[in-house]
């Protein structure tokens, strides 16, 4: 089940499950300056977010993760992108872009619930990341002051991209 799907490109994806959670923990430990709680790990293996919590493989090696949660407010469902990162040596070869595009496509095709937007936080010192998301249609919609408690700078941009749902195939 968690076997990466064959892909014409060398990038492939597999859902996060309790079985490969160790790989996610390992990646988070080296990728982020942040410690994630057990609640985080419990949430990302939930079947509802299966499509949006993915391991990213390059040549069948797990090199990154991408984890979202679904937030419903006023009947509108948005995806909050909690983590998206690729191991340092594997960066700058389009793996992140392909992953983000995969996420956007999956979100657009998702029916229950329909996803209206994807948003995320980026630390204000990380302008590379900001540019990356802007290339993929994200826009700065606000600033979250003191988002980070211990690491500096404390503030984070809020970036968001609206999702146009693709029409469901006829007969459904």
């Amino acid at each position: 089940m968690s076997n990466p799907r064959p892909s014409p490109s060398r990038v492939s994806f597999a859902s996060v499950t309790p079985n490969n959670l160790g790989t996610v923990r390992k990646l988070n430990a080296v990728l982020f300056p942040i410690k994630y709680s057990e609640k985080f790990y419990n949430d990302i293996v939930h079947p509802d977010v299966e499509d949006f919590c993915q391991l990213i493989y390059y040549s069948d090696i797990p090199v990154g993760t991408m984890c979202c949660r679904i937030e419903v407010k006023d009947g509108q469902a948005r995806l909050y992108l909690m983590t998206l990162a690729v191991l340092a040596p594997y960066r700058s070869r389009g793996i992140g872009s392909e992953s983000l595009q995969h996420l956007i496509d999956t979100a657009a095709a998702h029916a229950k619930p329909k996803i209206s937007a994807i948003y995320l936080h980026v630390q204000v010192s990380n302008s590379d990341a900001k540019r990356f998301y802007e290339r993929h249609g994200f826009k700065e919609v606000g600033l979250y002051e003191n988002y980070y408690k211990k690491i500096t700078p404390h503030d984070a941009w809020i970036l968001q991209r609206d999702i146009q749902p693709v029409k469901a195939p006829e007969g459904k």
């Binding site: 968690s2 079985n19 988070n28 300056p33 609640k39 390059y58 040596p89």
Partner: protein, 863 residues
């Protein structure tokens, strides 16, 4: 049934006689309840009627009341010793108990009183095959054919019997006769096709190659042999043997069918007079040209490329290996080192591979904390590091290997292979605890990978963590099994049984170790029993060729490494028990009983209770018609910790039985000869013991273990109180001096050996053990052993561990000194750590979680 001469005790009045026929009838139809009722009716009037008693016993056995049934059958046989029915029934029961020898005896008795009974003859034939009584088998098959010549399988069965007894000419005649008279064979008949292939095979084995080819070709043309691949393979082989010019084309055709079959390349090259196993400078060029042409023709085939690596030398090898290695590392094939390892026997090739791999690594090197340059593939870099780590560790450069692995892990911390191999390197340098910890890390990366799980269990066993090993094995075993261990044993997991037995032995739990070793031996008994059904099935279904191969394989079954290891290790335990019976009563085994074992014991008891209740229920409500068959079910385990097994009488006889197959199957195994010697000499089988020493001497005259045993033999022999038979004395006095000269004293012999091998650690240990046996003072023995620490002595880890065990055995006060010295000498090891630290080391192997220290340093926490 014989019409006349019915003994009066067997004769029944007509009413009961009819009833008895009904019993037989009911039994045939498996209407057990009715059969039992009818038998009881007869027995009411004639309680001593042997045949009825036997039939009742047989029916009860089928109903699951085995002991009661067996008693009745025995009683019945005693009451009517000349009834074929009684003997047949007895034979059936014994066959069900897998007691083939006795069953065959009963069948032979039955045939004395009813010599043409087809059923009995057929069963007897199966038993004769199982027991390899091939001459008797030919007789039986002849009788069957005479009785029923119209049955095709009877002809084939006779040919098979002749083949097995080594009489191929008669087998050929039978098949020729059969083919002449057989009629109405449907088109594309698989059975006939198999028979004809079998016929071709016999002709080939007889060396009648032209006849074999003629039969093959005509049968292929008439489409009576329909196995296309077999036709091509037989044809190519026969043409080669006939030195026909067509052979080349035939092999070519096979390679076109399957360009990855090594055998075809052997064939086509052998046909050109090139022996792949003995390439010379004359044949090398031609072989490489042929292989090169094929690799051009079949660009996706690996076989011609890989074979070329074995054949090529020098610059040619260099050119070939470079592209071979590079393409595989670029594809990320994890097993490429395993694939190439066989080439390492050649030092020049080894060095070429090393320099090429390092050159490749240099061209790929990049930092692990920044994006890798676009011209480089980061995955190829990781696989190259992995390959080189295996390379260096294989050559004993473990530190180098660890450095490479650490570089790879910093670059890509998510590849399980890296963790697994880091564990393996640590195991090799004598750190079983660190090894277990690293392999567990690999497992945590992907919990549903059973390979990683099994590795983790194995490494935990190596670290002496038995409960914890069983715990991880349990993640993949059946949930309704009595225990993970039981399930693995039922699934015949040789790996698990071997590793657990070895682990128990290291912990000094002889009972449990012996139980698991014997469990391995039992699995091989099962393998042997499993062939039984095929003696009937294969002849009936005409799957003869594969059946003959299987019988040959069964004959060498116990040369399997797992059996050899188990038999030797078990025999050592049993010898120990013989030498010091107190080891069987030491409380060690009880107090060693781990939590998991205790749990398993409880569970087993519960299960047993349930079985008993069930059988009680079955007995009280025996109204069921359910047929439980004749095969005795698995016996219940009334010895969960192996104590009874360890305490059972005649340890040496049991050891001898386990070792018996080894003397013919593993002639090149020194360890096996030593085990055979150890048992034989204690059983006072001096000739067998001496023969074992001679075999070992032929394999390695300088072997340290042999030295110990030669002295041991001489000591035992010269202090014998009652002399053995004169013939034995003659042989020993003529053979022994070849192993140890008569004129020198044992002490001198020992010191000469020590002098000759003063730079070999294992030899020094052997000499020390011998002087200990010759009652040298302990200080002197210790001094000898400590010489192994000298700089000019070759001392490997295994020997160092053995020396430590020896010092412990002789209660040397210098053991700690030795361990400390070893800890320095084997700097990466943990096996020589002070004993009080071992529990902490074991625990360290179980470090929970996958992320290490740096996680706790992080301040920011997101929930």
């Amino acid at each position: 049934m014989p019409p006349a001469g019915i003994p009066p005790a067997r004769a029944l009045p007509s009413k009961e006689s009819a009833l008895f026929k009904e019993v037989l009838h009911y039994y045939e139809d498996r209407q057990l309840k009715k059969g039992l009722k009818a038998a009881d009716t007869i027995l009411k009037k004639f309680p001593n009627h042997g045949e009825t008693l036997c039939m009742k016993g047989l029916i009860l056995t089928h109903m699951g009341r085995r002991e009661e049934g067996l008693e009745l059958v025995k009683q019945g046989v005693r009451l009517d010793l000349t009834s074929h029915i009684c003997w047949h029934v007895f034979g059936l029961i014994q066959k069900g108990q897998k007691n083939y020898e006795e069953a065959l005896k009963s069948y032979t008795q039955a045939l004395r009183f009813d010599k043409d009974n087809m059923n009995i003859l057929r069963d007897a034939a199966h038993l004769q095959t199982q027991l390899r009584h091939y001459d008797a088998l030919v007789e039986t098959r002849h009788t069957l054919l005479r009785l029923r010549p119209q049955l095709r399988q009877n002809w084939i069965a006779l040919a098979v019997a002749y083949t097995l007894s080594g009489n191929l000419i008669e087998a050929k005649h039978v098949l020729e006769q059969f083919e002449r008279i057989v009629k109405n064979v449907p088109d594309y008949d698989v059975e006939m096709s198999e028979v004809l292939l079998y016929h071709v095979r016999i002709l080939e084995d007889l060396g009648e190659h032209a006849e074999a080819l003629a039969l093959l070709d005509s049968s292929a043309k008439s489409r009576t042999i329909i196995d296309r691949v077999a036709i091509m393979e037989f044809r190519a082989r026969l043409l080669s043997k006939l030195k026909s010019p067509e052979a080349q084309q035939a092999w070519q055709g096979l390679i076109e069918q399957n360009p990855d079959c090594y055998g075809y390349y052997n064939g086509i090259l052998a046909n050109r007079g090139i022996d792949l196993d003995a390439i010379t400078d004359e044949t090398r060029g031609e072989a490489l040209q042929v292989l090169h042409d094929f690799s051009q023709q079949f660009s996706r085939a690996a076989a011609p490329l890989r074979i070329a690596l074995t054949v090529a030398v020098g610059d040619e090898f260099k050119a070939l290996i470079e592209s071979y290695l590079r393409s595989r590392l670029e594809k990320g094939i994890p097993s490429v080192f395993t694939d190439l390892k066989a080439l390492y026997r050649d030092a020049a090739k080894r060095e070429t591979i090393e320099s090429i791999a390092h050159a490749l690594l240099d061209s790929l090197a990049h930092a692990s904390d920044a994006p890798c340059p676009r011209s480089i593939d980061p995955a190829t870099y990781v696989w190259t590091l992995y390959f080189l780590a295996q390379h260096h560790s294989h050559l004993g450069r473990h530190k180098r290997a660890l450095e490479l692995l650490d570089t790879a892990l910093a670059h890509t911390p998510t590849l399980p292979e890296l963790y697994l191999f880091r564990g393996r390197v640590l195991k090799r340098v004598g750190d079983p605890y660190g090894a277990a910890r690293w392999v567990d890390q690999a497992r945590l990366l992907d919990l549903q990978d059973r390979f990683l799980n099994t590795r983790c269990g194995k490494y935990r066993l190596r670290a002496g963590l038995i409960d914890e090993a069983v715990e991880v094995f349990g993640l993949f075993t059946k949930k309704d099994a009595a225990s993970p261990a039981q399930d693995l044993e039922d699934m015949q997991s040789l790996l698990y049984l071997t590793e657990e037995a070895d682990a128990q032995l290291r912990l000094g739990n002889y009972a449990m170790a012996l139980k698991k070793y014997v469990g391995i031996a039992k699995i091989f008994d099962d393998f042997e029993d499993d062939q039984f059904d095929f003696h009937g099935y294969s002849v009936r279904k005409f799957t003869i060729n594969i059946y003959l191969n299987m019988l040959k394989w069964e004959d060498t079954l116990r040369s399997h490494p797992a059996y050899v290891h188990a038999a030797i290790a078990a025999s050592r335990i049993l010898v120990r028990v013989h030498d010091d019976p107190t080891v069987t009563t030491k409380p060690a085994s009880q107090s060693h009983l781990s939590d998991a074992e205790k749990k398993a014991k409880k569970k087993a008891k519960k299960a047993e209770k349930k079985v008993q209740e069930d059988s009680k229920k079955g007995a009280s409500a025996n109204s069921t018609n359910e047929d439980k068959g004749l095969d005795a079910g698995p016996p219940k385990d009334d010895d969960p910790d192996g104590t009874k097994l360890l305490q059972a009488p005649e340890p040496l006889e049991r050891a001898a039985k386990l070792l018996k197959p080894l003397s013919s199957l593993t002639k090149d195994n020194l360890e096996a000869w030593f085990a055979i010697y150890d048992v034989a000499v204690r059983r006072k089988k001096y000739l067998q013991a001496l023969q074992a020493l001679n075999h070992a001497h032929r394999l390695d005259p300088d072997s340290p273990e042999l030295h110990i045993r030669v002295v041991d033999f001489k000591r035992r022999w010269s202090s014998l109180s009652d002399k053995p038979a004169e013939s034995v004395v003659d042989v020993v006095s003529s053979c022994l001096p070849k192993l140890i000269p008569d004129e020198v004293s044992l002490e001198l012999f020992n010191s000469q050996y020590l002098q000759r091998h003063s730079s070999r650690g294992a030899a020094i240990l052997a000499a020390a053990k011998v002087s200990r046996a010759l009652d040298a003072p302990r200080e002197e023995v210790e001094a000898t052993v400590f010489n192994t620490l000298n700089a000019d002595v070759e001392l490997d880890l295994e020997t160092a561990v053995a020396i430590d065990a020896f010092l412990s055995e002789i209660q040397s006060p210098r053991e700690d000194e030795f361990r400390t010295a070893c800890q320095q000498k084997f700097e990466l090891s943990s096996v020589f750590a002070p004993r009080e630290e071992v529990p902490a080391l074991r625990r360290s192997a179980l470090q929970q979680g996958i992320v290490d220290g740096n996680e706790s340093k992080k301040e920011e926490m997101i929930s």
